[in-house]
Symmetry: C2
Subunit: 339 residues, 2 copies
Amino acid sequence: MRGVIMYGPGDVRVEDRPDPEIALPTDAIIRLAATCICGSDLWPYRGVDRVDGAPMGHEYVGVVTEIGSAVEKVAVGDFVVGSFFTSDNTCEICRSGYQSHCVHRTPIGREGTQAEYARIPNADGTLVATPGQPGADLIPSLLAASDVLGTGWFAAVAAEAGPGKTVVVVGDGAVGLCGVLAAKQLGAERIIAMSRHADRQALARRFGATDIFEERGREGVARVKELTGGLGAHSVIEAVGTQDAMDQAIRSTRPGGHVGFVGVSHDVTVDGQRLFGSGVHLHGGPAPVRRFLPDLIDLIWERRIDPGAVFDLTLPLEQAADGYRAMDERRATKVLLTV
Amino acid sequence: MRGVIMYGPGDVRVEDRPDPEIALPTDAIIRLAATCICGSDLWPYRGVDRVDGAPMGHEYVGVVTEIGSAVEKVAVGDFVVGSFFTSDNTCEICRSGYQSHCVHRTPIGREGTQAEYARIPNADGTLVATPGQPGADLIPSLLAASDVLGTGWFAAVAAEAGPGKTVVVVGDGAVGLCGVLAAKQLGAERIIAMSRHADRQALARRFGATDIFEERGREGVARVKELTGGLGAHSVIEAVGTQDAMDQAIRSTRPGGHVGFVGVSHDVTVDGQRLFGSGVHLHGGPAPVRRFLPDLIDLIWERRIDPGAVFDLTLPLEQAADGYRAMDERRATKVLLTV
């Protein structure tokens, strides 16, 4: 099969790779319908994380082509959505809603879903079948559910977005934009998207943002304070993963408010004294997308949400390198690869 | 009146100080019935925080002797309990339960309650009157409610201690011990006190601890993991304020679990990547004791809890310096000063 390999910073190639095979009785093999490039794939692409000949990709939707002998909940032919950590969905951690920390989790990134086929370990606890075969128009949104929507949704839940709340979203990438969408769906009263890009601002508005602030850092915090009677927002989503974004998120939150952080932390430290003084709640990490998948699939199936709009560039898998370049150069927010 | 002044590390004196006076119409003056020395008073005593001729003390119970013209909710003659930040108890932050971050808060430490009298700003929103004049036996517990009980209680609430939960308490000072008591009252199933001191272990057991672990750091974490099937505790109280304690707390908590931290942070930093990977909830800071005071006073009045047992040394105010020494040298957990 064909699949993406990253050999080093900026060096992405589509090559022949061995077809994946069932290795464990709990595995399934899927044929990808679509996959995509993640903002986090840019960390190694830019040389921030080390990479040396690794298969890439951890977002996926597709059709089950083969199942191991122990798989009972998905069948060959099912159209399925999964996410970036596999989970048994039965352990105590999974049952508490934290499937991304499942005691049997495996990272799908190791399999590499920017490819024609992928092996999905823990298939029963990882994959969720859609009610039927989706039309082509639904595929981008189902693919978004696999990561960016599920992650943005978790961030909004972690930030306790809801009725009567003012929500700030730091980060206007696909996850931040999905955080806006989630906050809207969760009933937030006011949703402030921090963004300087006209196209992302427009999508944020479409997803439910009531305000767009272009200021960053202390100026951004000051705008939020100004809007909230000096108190700060009830809920802040941090969807970047940098020190500046985390600082801005904590400073923008009122005492007793909630920060939901899902940007993969890179060299971030939180000052204990500042956190102590802030009185905020801090919660985040790799999103337990599996917790939300059934509901997200329903919302998408009923066409009540359209998170697939985050994809602003679609390319065939063979042109994955162009997709990486476009995201790296910020010419695209999120690239969908057709398989 | 007589009152405590700290002139520098190790230099505590009881001196004549001017009687406090009503400065604002929202002030009250109280005559202290008892006051005490806080673990946090040891930071300047040990030279970690700077101090230069400051009045000391922020814990207090006593009788109202005078009120400003705007005070309506407490009257001269009332026996009252307050806490270390004054609050209006009417602003949006107070109404959300975060009175320690009230937009009009003032630190009582500035007034210095290790004294015969004290001025209490924001009297209506800060002081809670007891149902009547308490017997002498209730005074230590009411005084504990002023800070250590209220703080331990907040930590247990922040850690979401409750039925079915395993709770770990890092720190066996008065606040940690009160955290044990709070976890028990909140219905926690298993309460692990981390302690190496026989007297504190005994009090932890009396307050509801089901297990005592003497290990610290990684060994302490390993014991907790061992007890919880490798997962970690649901709820962890951090009642020290050091890097080691915070690290131990986060590592002892399962993904999706809650860390409630109330130790005043000193040179603590939280690594973003570790926090991201841990999946825990982190919440703490200066406890909104006022939120809990009415309920805590009821529990004490009905003699259902006995947090006053944390005081293991009682001295007259004039011997405050001996009290500081005893706590500094760990000969006492918590010193009550009679006034």
